[in-house]
């Protein structure tokens, strides 16, 4: 009798544990869904309230799964939060955006790759310009049938081209990449410099003048992708037509290009003579901090940085008045359309909902707000009185630039971008030649061959 009782207890215990696991998983999903739902209404409702709402409306409300990098400290976080709330209010009872926050675009892209591999991409994807179309084309919805003439007319031709393959539209463009560099007018004046350089020779003369005046010329970095440094590297490469063509090449395999090697040599010189000691190993934040605290005279970055110049928690009051904008020497600017909003939903209802969401996010109202709040440039040709003057200066620079290139992060293989970051310290310290630097990137690119 005791044995039988023991056996029953053991069996019951085992079943309970297994059942517990299953239930845990189920309730875990439920909890996740509830939490995400609560997040999507941007704190309007308490979690319990959102749970009740989800329960009542689950039969009719179509949820749009959208993991986003537009969160945390990202410059677009505030814009997206406001737009998400506005969409959920406008489409209350019909559609609801379910947000999953993934800070950092690289982590976001990595997650999308994993989801793609398991055929579980979310309904809507936006990588912030990172090209996933060539990688995930088979899982992305061709949006051509959903875009009528009126909507299409709001998009730029180049925006449509960047988001199309074989005549099919796989993304709705929303942003353009305009990047030059910022300089500190006061520090330039102290060094006797009147205007930004027009040639690279003049640029290095200005660096020397700044150095002689006791001013560190450049904010540079190597961590992550070495963003600020790589912007200069790309601009130096695109100092003639051949270089411009190379910098607009999608996923180049060979970096043994004279313009690129020459640019790497210039970067090496900048590291050795004209930047701060913390640039080697330093990240974008450190580089930005140096410029905003007037420890350096120049930094390469896009107009989204302008809002920082007005932020008195990051800069001295009135710092924005000291900042000037410039295109790179030889008239080069990063001036390119970017991949935009993609749909990877699988059912017609979800696709329809996802398209509606994207239409909302790329509407004139949303795009104008995007320009005003973030300082990022829209795909639509919009202007606003509320835009910071420095942002307008960047737009004006781009309008007269000679060489227009695309952002290397969007074009180069991801492992090449990573390789740039780990090889920069060697280049900076003279442990490798510019030719060896090009060889290292070529070797990394070759790993992507089929």
């Amino acid at each position: 009798m005791k044995k039988r009782t023991l056996a029953v207890i053991v069996a019951a215990l085992g079943s309970a544990m297994l059942a517990g696991c299953g239930q845990g998983s189920s309730s875990g999903e439920s909890a996740q869904s509830t939490a995400q739902g609560a997040e999507s209404v941007a704190g309007q409702a308490e979690e319990q309230g959102a749970e009740t709402k989800a329960g009542e409306e689950s039969a009719e409300v179509i949820q749009i799964d959208y993991p986003t990098f537009m969160c945390g400290t990202a410059s677009v976080a505030g814009w997206f939060q406001e737009r998400c709330q506005a969409f959920n209010e406008q489409y209350a009872g019909k559609y609801e955006i379910v947000v999953e926050e993934i800070p950092n675009t690289q982590d976001y892209v990595d997650k999308m790759k994993v989801l793609y591999s398991s055929d579980s991409l979310p309904d809507v994807v936006n990588t912030g310009g990172y090209n996933i179309i060539d990688m995930m084309q088979d899982k992305l919805v061709d949006l051509t049938p959903y875009v009528d003439e009126e909507w299409r007319s709001t998009m730029s031709d180049i925006g449509i081209a960047v988001n199309s393959r074989d005549g099919k539209l796989y993304g709705i463009p929303s942003t353009r990449q305009l990047v030059g560099y910022f300089y500190n007018k006061d520090l330039f004046a102290q060094a006797g410099i009147e205007a930004p350089a027009e040639t690279w020779d003049e640029f290095f003369q200005q660096c020397e003048a700044l150095k002689q005046a006791g001013i560190v010329p450049m904010s540079m970095d190597t961590a992550d992708s070495g963003w600020c440094t790589s912007l200069f590297l790309g601009a130096m490469t695109a100092s003639n037509e051949a270089g411009e063509e190379f910098m607009n090449t999608l996923q180049p395999r060979d970096y043994h290009v004279p313009e690129f090697i020459d640019a790497a040599a210039k970067i090496q010189r900048l590291f050795k003579e004209y930047t701060t000691p913390d640039s080697i190993g330093g990240d974008y934040a450190a580089a930005a901090n140096n410029f905003q605290n007037e420890l350096t005279a120049m930094i390469a970055n896009g107009p989204w940085m302008v809002q920082n110049f007005y932020d008195t928690t990051k800069c001295e009051e009135g710092f924005y008045e000291k900042v000037g904008t410039a295109m790179y020497p030889e008239g080069t600017m990063y001036n390119a359309a970017q991949t935009g909003w993609h749909v990877a939903a699988k059912t017609p209802e979800k696709i329809e909902a996802a398209v509606e969401m994207i239409k909302f996010m790329t509407s004139e109202e949303s795009q104008k707000l995007y320009l005003e709040v973030t300082g990022n440039i829209c795909d639509r040709n919009l202007t606003s009185d509320k835009v910071y003057p420095l942002v307008n200066e960047v737009i004006e620079n781009a309008a007269v630039s000679t060489y227009n290139i695309n952002d290397y992060q969007s074009l180069w293989y991801a492992n090449v971008v990573d390789e740039v970051s780990v090889q920069y310290p060697l280049l900076a310290q003279g442990e490798m030649t510019p030719e060896e630097f090009a060889a290292a990137l070529t070797a990394a690119a070759e790993k992507n061959e089929e």
């Binding site: 056996a7 215990l13 990595d110 790759k113 961590a223 913390d278 190993g281 780990v422």
Partner: protein, 288 residues
Amino acid sequence: MRVKKHILFVFLLPCAFLFGLIYLIPIGVVTATSFTSWKIGSDIHFCGLENYLSAVRDPNVRVALLHTLFWVVLQATVHVALGVTLALILSRRCRGWRAIRTISMLPNIIPASALAIIFLRVFDANGLINSLLSVITGKPVQIQWYFQVKTAMIPVTLSWLIYSGLITILVLAAILGVSTELSDSAKMDGARGLQIDFLVILPIIRTTIGTAVIIASTSMLKEFELIFLTTNGGPGNKTLNMPLYLYKTSLIENNYGYGNAMGVMLILLGVGIVFGVNRLFRMDESVY
């Protein structure tokens, strides 16, 4: 009450089920796919030993494997030795031993991300180490410890080598569990201090030290965050190890088949270490 042994297996079922689900099946999948060509956006197909042959030819694999083995050996020797030494000292129950025991554990409970940031700052060009060196030498020192070829291994290794609090706690618990009669007997036979430690205590806690060696050395087969968040394997590949290269291969190059081949190599390395340490410390033999 005697319970039939087969009843006891019922208790194992939930654990065995979860182990199978979470470990065995994924290990099987990883092993099987390591013999395939599997990249993002392309079909998966069998390629035999191609991934393993590529690994043999890949200079980054050789470097990463060398670094990984170097850190495994250091952890198994220096790290454990530091932990055991501190445990022996604390076992004397000198004043404040409990506080020291707790403090020694602190680096183990700080999140790796926070620890990485702390270390980056300490070894920064304008960091604590350079400031100290500047004071000592009387000249400004601005060494980029993490990013110079000759120095990069030092801060990376230091970020885990000297923090042996976990080993200390394990070994100390074992020492305190040893009957005092044994050390008293040794004292009566004329043994003193270190003689008791090395000839009586340490042999008795042999299996605990073996366990510590396994924990310490295998931790290096999964060390990722502290390298990824500081040097990312650089400069060049000077601090690259196998877990980081596996990550880069899988998630940046999107070459899952090759990444899984590295995963299998790491698993085999881990099994080899556990087997070797078990033999070395005679883990399955009684200590008495």
